[in-house]
């Protein structure tokens, strides 16, 4: 479960990440720099085996499309679990296994985490079909076809960023839903990539009025404020913080790219509308960058989410046989004493050290015919927390965690 300090830590990392990607501000030396992570993805030879949405090697899974998504722990667990196979493949290809120094792993993880935020370009042809199937065409015109009730959708400048479209879609929801009910039309919902495809079609239809503009990612700090001020937090929690009428947005609701999130947000319109009416609230309307900011907030919130229980770490430490090399109390043995190495370290630093020792560890384990330990994200979270906290001197331990 996420704690307040850990959330703030994650926010600091990924906030920086988003701001960096947004090209808004950067302070030298801050960890979790996805721009640097992108360079590391190339220089550490990850790109030799892995592609990102089609660009790169084809030996390993495409990291822009694979299941290697989710929180810090999910990504690190996936990296760790493939470490032994990767070693063998890299030897075969005569590539040097990557080792990470300083904040390098943290930067790389920020980049990989980041991949999920941005959408892939949708399929405009499919979007054209959806424009009719979802009944948009009944009210909106593009080119020579379509209704006149709503504004023309080819009036948007060509290349309008998807989140701007999403915000417009959301804001015109009350009028649109009422009109669709009047006409006995089904209010559209979006699954999978449908909203991406529909937006790809709409974005390609307008005239270009000015040089192309591109959207930067939102501001998570402002997003958190907007999440509260627009009343979202009265119904929704984010990892346990907030209302309980709607689903906790820190869970499965956050899967997918930012525009897919917008699609799911739109899908809950009928339920939300009814609930807000019963609570005497008006439907939120978003202005300027507000929707982008909210999504940025939601996105960074899940960075270091996990479901690990506090006492699970010791079990993992034993069951995965870490103790057979590092000692039951971290005092060391075949492997170095963790009580001196990992105690008090950040999760990024522990992950880095784990990764760097994986190659030597693999050799030892092979010699002793011990299978490579694989971790779920929660197991890894519990283990890292355990080896960071367990052997610290009591005075050095952080205060007991409390739920926010």
């Amino acid at each position: 479960m996420s704690s307040a300090p850990r959330e703030r830590g994650a926010l600091a990392v990924i906030l920086t990440a988003l701001l960096l990607a947004a090209a808004t501000a950067h302070a030298a030396g801050i960890i979790g720099d996805p721009a640097r992570g992108q360079l590391l993805f190339v220089s550490k030879k990850c790109v030799e085996c892995h592609a990102v949405r089609g660009a790169g090697g084809r030996i390993g899974p495409d990291l822009g499309r694979s299941s290697v998504k989710g929180s810090f722990y999910e990504i690190v667990a996936a990296m760790w679990n493939h470490a032994q196979t990767m070693d063998e493949k890299m030897k075969e290809l005569r590539l040097i296994r990557p080792q990470f120094e300083g904040t390098e792993l943290s930067d790389l993880l920020a980049f990989l985490y980041f991949l999920n935020y941005f959408d892939e370009p949708g399929d405009a042809k499919s979007g054209k079909s959806l424009f009719a199937e979802k009944h948009c065409i009944e009210c909106h015109a593009i080119g020579k076809e379509g209704g006149r009730t709503g504004p023309r959708l080819d009036a948007f400048p060509r290349g309008t960023p998807p989140l701007q479209l999403a915000q417009r879609l959301w804001n015109h929801g009350p009028a649109m839903v009422a009109m669709m009910h009047t006409r006995n039309l089904e209010v559209p919902t979006f699954r999978g990539n449908e909203i991406l495809d529909l937006f790809a079609y709409v974005r390609g239809q307008g005239q270009r009025r000015a040089p192309r503009t591109f959207k930067s990612a939102g501001d998570p700090i402002k997003g958190k404020q907007t999440f509260v001020s627009k009343g979202c937090s009265r119904c929704h929690a984010v990892f346990g913080r907030g209302g309980s009428i709607g689903p906790d947005l820190g869970r499965a609701e956050l899967q997918g790219s930012v525009t897919q999130l917008a699609g799911r947000m739109w899908n809950h319109w009928p339920a939300m509308s009814g609930a807000m009416q019963s609570m005497g609230m008006s439907t939120p309307v978003f202005h300027d960058e507000e929707l982008a900011d909210v999504f940025a907030y939601l996105f960074v919130s899940r960075y270091d989410a996990d479901n690990a229980s506090a006492d699970q770490g010791l079990t993992v430490y034993r069951e995965k046989r870490c103790s057979s090399c590092h000692g039951p109390r971290g005092e060391g043995g075949i492997g170095p004493p963790l009580s001196r190495i990992t105690a008090g370290q950040s999760k990024e630093e522990i992950a880095r050290r784990m990764w760097n020792h994986a190659s030597a560890m693999s050799v030892r384990m092979n010699d002793r015919q011990i299978p490579w330990p694989r971790f779920s994200a929660d197991e890894l979270a519990a283990l890292i927390r355990f080896v960071s906290n367990e052997w610290q001197q009591p005075a050095a331990r952080p205060a007991a965690k409390t739920k926010p």
């Binding site: 960096l20 090209a23 721009a35 949405r53 660009a55 974005r203 005239q207 959207k215």
Partner: protein, 787 residues
């Protein structure tokens, strides 16, 4: 130092060996190196790599110079640069010979004797040069005749030219005249059909079938290294299936030799052949009906009944076969292959930077591309987005400048004309002093006296201008007839900010910093000269920067404001940017103008690899907003007779080492003029064995090639590389200037031209000349001797 030609040839082996070990040409440049205050050999000192941009041609390759001490010992492609991708052509490799060339201009030179000889010049200081030029400019402004200042420029992508153009605009002259033979016809075809003034950018990389109608894109494209890399992807990596290349041309060029099939064609029949292919595609219903119906106009209607009717009436397979000399079966097969290809692409005749081709050919090819739906799609004909720094922010001219800018251009070209520049018309205007006399002529980045189709007229014109100022690194033909020669630094000695070259579909900005601690000689970058002249003439408000370094930084600041694109990087980085921008996001990897400046210096530049296909409002700007199939012009083409009469057809081409009229000054390039025939250090003429037999020419003998205007003597090469009834001659040699290794070597076949212009474009028609070929007289005719 004077080296006899034959002696020099013998020394070339030493030069090659020197280059191979990373030296600067063995001992061949010993004198030059000895005079450049450097220890002769080996160079000593710390090793360093510096990024720059090659300006040996318009291609704009990013390069990496290896420096030891203060000696540049090697130039190679910058691996991160999107144009060069780590590769470099022979011209770029020869940059060291240009840097350490013994005939480089070392100080400004003032002419004190008759025009045409370097002996007529005396050395001067920069202060003397700039004071005299500025004094003349101030007088002109005082007389309120700013239009009498003329800029004749070769390019528009470098920082020096942008500074010159800005100076001219602030001064108040409309006479900003481009000498851009290589891209004019293609740009015209694009403008006539799509309403856009730009150079078309064929997507070679994205195609899977290329029909090249005489496009020498592997040796003399506007960006040769980029074209070669794109060709490599086309053949090997980009598509699952190896791309197929068909080359149709009277001459077996390097491109033709690389093709899967060379189809010899009679001279002057490219347009007929292209329209014949188009007719066959239409006849068989293989054209892109959706594009034609939704985006086209003039296909079913217009003069002559529209394009479909004209093709049916005038371009029957039999007629096209009879005129082109290609069989009906071959034409039909190629038409079906092209239309059936997933991404077929047709390339127009383009022989090099000086020989961009005829409008009729480019138009016919562009219409053919449109018929197969090849406009603005991947693997088709694209149009690069403008780079933010290409156009300077509009200034508010003072009253004198505003009045001057309203005057007509001396060359009659510009916004109302199809031509973007007309140097031959400029020459006539300079000579006649009509509609008004020119007082000052700046010549930057071009050697018009060598490259013009009207040599005599241009020579006379220069005599009528009171002050001719030429920028050059080595005194070229034009410089020798100027009043001032201002020595330019070599590109490895100066700052530059270079935008993407013509024919490349993405926007890029390359940043070069000096690779040596200080220039070898007392040279100044053209941008510095114009910044200085602006200060001396009270125009510093328009050009307020102290020097070219400050101007470079200011341009990068403007680039940052555009909020698009990314630092150049690996293919993965490019794919990432494409994906992000395709989705509407911007993730550049820099957060401030300072960081952009720093990162471009570290990597070599910036670019925007994303292309927004199908943005019709951008690429179709005709009055109708549709692609205009121009039946009116196709009718004119149909009515023209392509037959060659009264002699042999003159086929001109530009070998890569001397393309664009530059390169002959470097021994390294003179030694590899033609890899097929192994020609060296002289001009040759290729004739078919049948033609040679009829004319009693022997391989290796001297032959006389005469037009009504001029005659030259070249070495006869009897070869089946060229069709019968024609003589093919390279352009690039036969210089009056260019230093000791260019002067008097070979012949300039452009002098055979007599100002014939293509009717529909008014472009000099380099393809229309016919010549009489005969065996040279054993005593009288030798290269360089004219009748």
């Amino acid at each position: 130092m004077k080296i006899a030609r034959r002696k020099f040839i013998g020394l070339m082996a030493g030069a090659a060996a020197g280059a191979a070990v990373g030296g600067t040409g063995g001992r061949i440049f010993a004198d030059a190196l000895a005079t450049s205050n450097q220890p002769l050999y080996p160079p000593r000192g710390p090793e360093q790599f510096v990024l720059s941009v090659c300006t040996a041609c318009p291609g704009g390759c990013g390069v990496r110079a290896r420096r030891i001490g203060d000696r540049i010992v090697k130039v190679e492609g910058n691996p991160l640069h999107p144009i060069s991708g780590g590769r470099l052509c022979p011209k770029g490799q020869a940059a060291l010979q240009a840097l350490y060339h013994p005939d480089r201009l070392r100080v400004p030179l003032r002419r004190v004797g008759p025009r045409g000889s370097l002996r007529s010049f005396r050395p001067a200081t920069w202060e003397a040069a700039l004071a005299e030029i500025a004094s003349r400019l101030r007088s002109i402004r005082d007389e309120q005749r700013p239009e009498s200042v003329v800029l004749l420029r070769g390019g528009d992508r470098d920082i020096g030219t942008r500074a010159a153009r800005q100076f001219l605009a602030a001064f108040g002259s409309p006479n900003d005249i481009a000498f851009d033979r290589g891209n004019e016809a293609g740009a015209m075809a694009l403008f006539l059909t799509q309403g856009v003034r730009a150079t078309p950018a064929p997507d070679i990389r994205g195609a899977d079938y290329i029909l090249s109608l005489g496009s020498e894109f592997l040796e003399a494209s506007p960006a040769p290294v980029y074209s070669m890399r794109a060709y490599g992807d086309f053949r090997q990596t980009h598509t699952a299936q190896r791309g197929k290349l068909i080359h149709v041309d009277p001459r077996l060029s390097i491109t033709a030799a690389s093709a899967d099939e060379w189809i010899p064609i009679r001279p002057l029949t490219h347009a007929t052949f292209a329209l014949g292919i188009a007719a066959a595609i239409v006849q068989e219903g293989l054209y892109d009906r959706e594009f034609v119906a939704e985006r086209g106009t003039g296909f079913e209607d217009g003069p002559g009944g529209g394009l479909r009717a004209i093709l049916g009436n005038h371009f029957s397979l039999e007629r096209v076969a009879a005129e082109s000399g290609v069989s009906v079966n071959v034409i039909l097969r190629v038409a079906r292959e092209l239309a059936g290809a997933r991404k077929g692409l047709v390339l127009p005749p383009h022989k090099g930077p000086l020989l961009g081709g005829r409008l009729a050919d480019h138009l016919a090819v562009h219409l053919l591309n449109a018929l197969i739906g090849n406009i603005d799609r991947a693997g088709g004909v694209l149009i690069a987005d403008e780079v933010a720094i290409d156009a300077w922010p509009a200034d508010a001219p003072d009253p004198v400048a505003a009045a001057g800018r309203r005057q007509p251009r001396l060359d009659g070209a510009g916004s109302e004309s199809l031509l973007s520049g007309d140097p031959e018309q400029l020459a006539r205007a300079l000579s006649s002093r009509e509609p008004y006399p020119a007082e000052v002529l700046f010549i930057l980045g071009t050697d018009p006296l060598y490259a013009t189709a009207s040599h005599d007229a241009f020579t006379a014109a220069l005599d009528r201008v009171p002050l001719v100022v030429t920028f050059a690194t080595i005194a070229n033909d034009t410089a020798l007839r100027s009043d001032w020669i201002l020595p330019e630094p070599h590109f490895l000695e100066t700052w530059n900010v270079q935008t993407s070259p013509p024919s490349v579909a993405f926007a890029s900005v390359s940043v070069a910093s000096p690779a040596v601690s200080k220039p070898l000689y007392d040279t100044r970058a053209p941008a510095d000269v114009f910044l200085d002249l602006a200060r001396r003439t009270g125009l510093q408000r328009a050009l307020p920067w102290q020097d070219v370094a400050a101007l470079s930084r200011a341009e990068i600041d403007r680039l940052f404001e555009a909020r698009r694109g990314a630092i150049v990087g690996t293919p993965f980085d490019a794919a990432w940017v494409r994906m992000m921008e395709g989705s509407g996001w911007w993730a550049p990897g820099y957060t401030s103008a300072d960081e952009l400046w720093k990162r471009t210096g570290e990597t070599g530049g910036w670019w925007d690899p994303f292309y927004d296909h199908g943005d019709w409002s951008r690429v179709l700007r005709t009055p109708s907003g549709r692609f205009d199939f121009r039946p009116d012009l196709v009718q004119q083409i149909a009515g023209a007779s392509p037959a060659v009469t009264g002699g042999a057809a003159l086929i001109l081409f530009e070998p890569l080492p001397i393309a664009g009229g530059t390169g002959a000054e470097l021994p390294f390039l003179q030694a590899l003029l033609d890899p097929g025939l192994e020609e060296r250090w002289e001009t040759w003429g290729e004739v078919h064995p049948d033609t040679a037999s009829a004319l009693h020419l022997r391989n290796g003998s001297w032959m006389r090639v005469a037009s009504a205007h001029e005659a030259i003597v070249v070495r006869a090469r009897v070869t089946e590389r060229v069709v019968a009834g024609a003589v093919a001659i390279p352009v690039g040699l036969g210089k009056r200037g260019g230093g000791r290794w260019a002067e008097g070597v070979g012949e300039n076949p452009l002098r055979l031209l007599d100002g014939v212009r293509e009717p529909i474009s008014s472009l000099p028609d380099f393809a229309a000349a016919t010549v009489l070929v005969s065996e040279a007289s054993p005593t009288g005719d030798r290269p360089g001797k004219r009748s």
